[in-house]
Symmetry: C2
Subunit: 243 residues, 2 copies
C-alpha cells in the first residue's frame, strides 16, 4: 500500500488571501490537516485558512504550551508524529499548517525531523511576515548589495548590537517581552529614528508605529522591529502620515 505524503504548508503572515494558490489547492484536497496551537487557545495558523477547512477534514491539533524561548516539549511532537504517521501509513496525505514559511523560524522542523526519513514529503513555501513588514511600511527591506539580517530578540544585547553594526538592514523578530530592551538597545546604537515597530501584520488589527511611539516593556509575540540603515533611506510614507 502506498503511504500518504507529508506536506509542510506555509500559510503566510495572516491575511487569508496571502496564501499561495498551491497551498489553497493542497489544503482543499488533503483529508488530514494538522495545526499548531498554544496549550489552551486558538490556532493562528488554522484561523488563516479556516475558509479551506471542511467538516469532513480530519484535524490534528498540535498543542505546544507557550514557553517563549524554551525548546518546545519534545513529547508534544513525538505524540503528534505518531498520530500523523498513522494517517500516512493508511495512505492519507497530511498537511501541516505553518505560519509564514515552513522552514523560516517555524516549528514544522520538529515534525519534519521525526517523519521525513519514512514518508514522502513536500514543502510549500509561504510569504514570511518579514516580507509583509516591508509591504506594510511601504519601504524596501533591502536592495542592491545590502546585507539583510533577521535577528531574534531573545539573543543577548552584545550579539544583537554586533549584528546591527554589520548589516545594512534588519528585522528583529520575536520581540514580545523584549520590547523595552530592544528600544534601549536601538537607542544606544543611534537607530531609533530608523526603526519601525510592527505587529499582527496584514491582519485587521495590524499596528505600525515609530519605535519611540511604543512605550512599555512588552509586545505581542508576533511582533517585529524593522531597522533600515541604508544610504538611501527615505521616510516611510505610511508612518509619516501617522497610520
Amino acid at each position: 500500500m502506498t503511504t500518504g505524503t507529508l506536506y509542510g504548508v506555509g500559510v503566510g503572515p495572516g491575511a487569508p488571501d496571502l496564501i499561495t494558490l498551491r497551498a489553497w489547492r493542497l489544503l482543499t484536497g488533503v483529508p488530514v490537516i494538522a495545526w499548531p496551537a498554544p496549550g489552551d487557545g486558538d490556532s493562528f495558523a488554522r484561523s488563516i485558512v479556516a475558509g479551506c477547512i471542511r467538516a469532513d477534514h480530519v484535524e490534528i491539533p498540535i498543542r505546544v504550551p507557550m514557553r517563549t524561548e524554551r525548546f518546545p516539549a519534545a513529547e508534544v511532537y513525538d505524540a503528534a508524529a505518531v498520530e500523523i504517521a498513522a494517517h500516512l501509513d493508511a495512505g492519507r496525505d497530511v498537511a501541516v499548517l505553518c505560519e509564514g514559511d515552513p522552514f523560516f523560524f517555524g516549528s514544522f522542523m520538529y515534525l519534519f525531523q521525526r517523519l521525513s526519513d519514512r514518508y514522502p514529503f513536500e514543502i510549500v513555501p509561504g510569504v514570511s511576515s518579514v516580507m509583509a513588514g516591508g509591504a506594510a511600511i511601504a519601504r524596501p527591506l533591502a536592495a542592491r548589495n545590502e546585507v539583510f539580517s533577521v535577528i531574534p530578540a531573545p539573543l543577548d544585547d552584545g550579539r544583537i548590537e554586533a549584528q546591527l553594526a554589520a548589516c545594512d538592514a534588519a528585522a528583529i523578530i520575536k520581540v514580545g517581552r523584549h520590547l523595552g530592551r530592544m528600544r534601549a538597545l536601538l537607542d544606544r546604537c543611534g537607530l531609533t529614528a530608523q526603526s519601525c515597530y510592527a505587529e499582527r501584520l496584514t491582519l485587521e488589527t495590524q499596528k505600525l508605529a515609530r519605535l519611540d511611539d511604543m512605550p512599555g516593556d512588552a509586545a505581542p509575540y508576533f511582533s517585529m522591529i524593522l531597522v533600515y540603515k541604508g544610504d538611501e533611506a527615505w521616510p516611510s510614507p505610511v508612518l509619516e502620515t501617522g497610520s
Copy 2:
C-alpha cells in the same frame, strides 16, 4: 476624477501556483500590467503569471539593460513612471510585477520612489526565492534564536566573510559570475560541506547541488548558495539522495 492605484505585486519565486490568492485576484482585475525585462529578452516575472494576462490587458514592458551590479539606468524608470502615471491619471489601476517580493532586493523601489508621493499604492508581498530555497533543500533556513543573513555575492570577500562568521545561517544571493569566488571563500571559511547551491528554484529546470559539485566560475543570475552553520544541522535529504 479619482486616480488609479499603483500595485507592487510579488509574483513569487517562479512556479505559477506560488503566487498568492491576492496577487491572482489583483492581476486578473487590473486593466494595466507593467513588468521588468532585460533589454532584449523575455520577462521572467511575466512568464510566472502568463496565465493571468488577457488580450485586453494593457502591458507596459520596463526594459532594463542587464548590467549586473550597476545601478539601473534612471532614464528607464523615469520613462516607465511617466507611462504608468498617465494610466493612473486616467483612473486606471496599474499592477507592477515583481519577482519574489516587491521590497526584498527588487527593482520595484525605483518606480515606487517616482510615483508613491502622488498616487495611492498597495504592496502585495510575495514568496521570496530564499524561502523557496529552504523548501527545495528540505532543511530549515533558520530556527529558534538563530541569526539569518541575506548576503549579496557582489560584496567584497572581507565583508562576506565577516557576515558569515557572525550569522548562524545565510543565503548568498546574486551568485551569477561570482560562483568561483564564493566557492573559494566558503572553502577558506570551512563551510563547503554546509553549503548548497540552488538555481531556478521551483521551476522545472530547478537545480540543486552540493557546492563542491559545482565547478566553474559562473552561474545564472538567479542562483543562490544556502549556508547552514547551526548546531543541529542535519543532512539535506534532497542532496543526500542525489537530486
